[in-house]
């Protein structure tokens, strides 16, 4: 009886030690390395299963889309009207953005600084509390830790996450909805106001740090700013769309406003993504940003 309790107690202690060390170490730590290696081992199995279940998934998605078709049509009609208005505004903003591109260090050329690596999602987290997935591309394809990941959203390509673990043939994406994720963002129509975007609830984000004086409105587009704070590069290059502003609020005494964001991409609906493999020196510098 005593030996049994000692063994089980030892296992409990081992779990707690693993939990503590894993939580404290960086993504390059030894336990993360073991996890990445183990993930690589099961990648072929996950890849095979992913391909095998793809027809079933497609059929299921099709059946679900039929049920949601009417609601979706009404939603798209409303969105279409909104987007028409935004086209006019974006043409004006386009001129302003051209000037911003020329500001040294911002690196707006994300489609030039990075090589686009299409990847299938082959493994999902087994728990709904972890917004992570595994893709079938790794360091052999140029994908490294901190490579941004984009996907096709309701308004073209949009940011969905970042690579947090990279093995030779597979990598792990941490989606933007993962806790402790923060992205330096800018908002169109608000003089490119800068703020920090963080997840608040599943599928919802909030931007803080935008002065009340900046005119933010529903429907404004949120995109990556290219930096986290003054003089600090972000791992995300400038100019990748993220979502639309859905709410703005502040109290009378506040000097900053809080902005709610609806992302363009729902990670749960994805079957494939595009990882951005750094190509230029600036892109590599971003990826190695601590």
């Amino acid at each position: 009886m005593l030996a049994r309790r000692l063994i089980v107690g030892g296992l409990v202690v081992l779990c707690l030690i693993a939990l503590s060390i894993y939580g404290r170490e960086t993504s390059s730590g030894p336990l993360h390395g073991i996890q990445s290696g183990a993930g690589t081992l099961v990648t072929p199995i996950q890849d095979g299963v992913s391909r095998a279940v793809q027809p079933v998934r497609s059929a299921w998605d099709w059946a679900k889309s039929l049920v949601n078709a009417r609601d979706r049509a009404a939603q798209l009609a409303k969105q279409n009207q909104q987007l028409r208005a935004e086209i006019v505004q974006s043409q004006i903003n386009g001129e302003l953005n051209k000037q911003l591109v020329t500001v040294p260090g911002l690196g707006n050329q994300w489609n030039v600084d990075y090589r686009q690596v299409p990847a299938d999602i082959i493994g999902w987290s087994t728990s709904p509390y972890y917004d992570e997935a595994r893709i079938d591309k790794g360091t052999s394809s140029g994908v490294i830790v901190n490579s941004p990941v984009i996907a096709k959203g309701s308004a073209g390509p949009a940011l969905v996450g970042v690579i947090t673990q990279a093995g030779p043939i597979s990598s792990t994406i941490s989606f933007l909805s993962q806790p402790q994720t923060s992205v330096g963002v800018a908002i169109t129509n608000a003089s490119s106001a800068f703020g920090i975007m963080q997840p608040t609830a599943p599928g919802a984000f909030e931007i803080t740090g935008i002065p009340v004086s900046k005119p933010v409105a529903d429907g404004d587009i949120v995109y990556t700013a290219g930096f986290r704070a003054l003089g600090q590069l972000s791992i995300f290059p400038r100019g990748i769309p993220i979502g639309l502003v859905t709410g703005v609020g502040h109290r009378e005494t506040d000097v900053q406003q809080t902005v709610q964001v609806d992302p363009f991409v729902d990670p749960n609906s994805l079957a494939y993504v595009v990882a951005l493999a750094p190509k230029s020196a600036l892109a590599l510098q971003r990826a190695t940003t601590p």
């Binding site: 996950q46 493994g123 987290s125 972890y130 806790p179």
Partner: protein
């Protein structure tokens, strides 16, 4: 370490001839983990995923006692966390360990001899794992929507209940009659 059959009651003749078959328990656990990290995430309904590992851990605990149940739980949890894109290590191992230990305490009891009690235990175990995982998320300061948590919990519990019966039946067939495995004891020791 020597682990052999000891336990609370006299093992059946069949179980003595077949031994504890711990290798079979380990094999079943590995197969369950592979299924859990590769196939199960695609069976995602209302945010819930059927948990085949919890079924195997509960069934193993019920057939081989708290020690094997706890070891199977910890091993299964670590394997899932190592091979699935999960942002923690040790959380699931701890939760499955508790589940395996708890199920093992019921090993050999008459109340769990039918198929329904183990299935109910699997559902309860899944609820415990989900509640534990949600609690850890709260500890990590992750914003949680209580509606989503309840929905996920219910969906996972129902789907786990649906797969529990065949999984328990397979584990029973593979491991044979229940008897408690104790460390440092020989078969027949009382």
């Amino acid at each position: 370490m020597i682990i052999s059959a000891g336990g609370t009651g006299p093992p059946s003749a069949g179980s003595i001839t077949r031994g504890p078959r711990l290798w079979m328990a380990a094999l079943l656990l590995v197969v369950a983990v592979v299924l859990q990290v590769s196939l199960m995430p695609f069976i995602n309904i209302a945010g819930g995923i059927p948990d085949v590992v919890v079924c195997v851990v509960v069934a193993t605990g019920l057939l081989r006692g708290p020690l094997v149940g706890a070891v199977a739980g910890a091993a299964g949890g670590f394997l899932v966390e190592l091979t699935s894109p999960i942002g923690t290590l040790g959380v699931l191992a701890l939760l499955y360990l508790v589940v395996g230990w708890g199920a093992g305490r019921l090993c050999g009891r008459d109340e769990v001899r039918g198929l329904l009690p183990p299935v109910v235990l699997c559902v309860i175990a899944e609820v415990l794992v989900e509640v534990g995982a949600a609690f850890v998320q709260l500890m990590l300061s992750r914003p949680l929507d209580i509606g989503d948590v309840v929905r996920t919990l219910l969906a996972s519990a129902i789907m786990t209940g649906l797969i529990a019966a065949p999984v328990v039946a397979i584990v029973r067939r593979a491991l044979g009659a229940p008897f408690v495995v104790e460390p440092f004891s020989m078969p027949g020791d009382q």
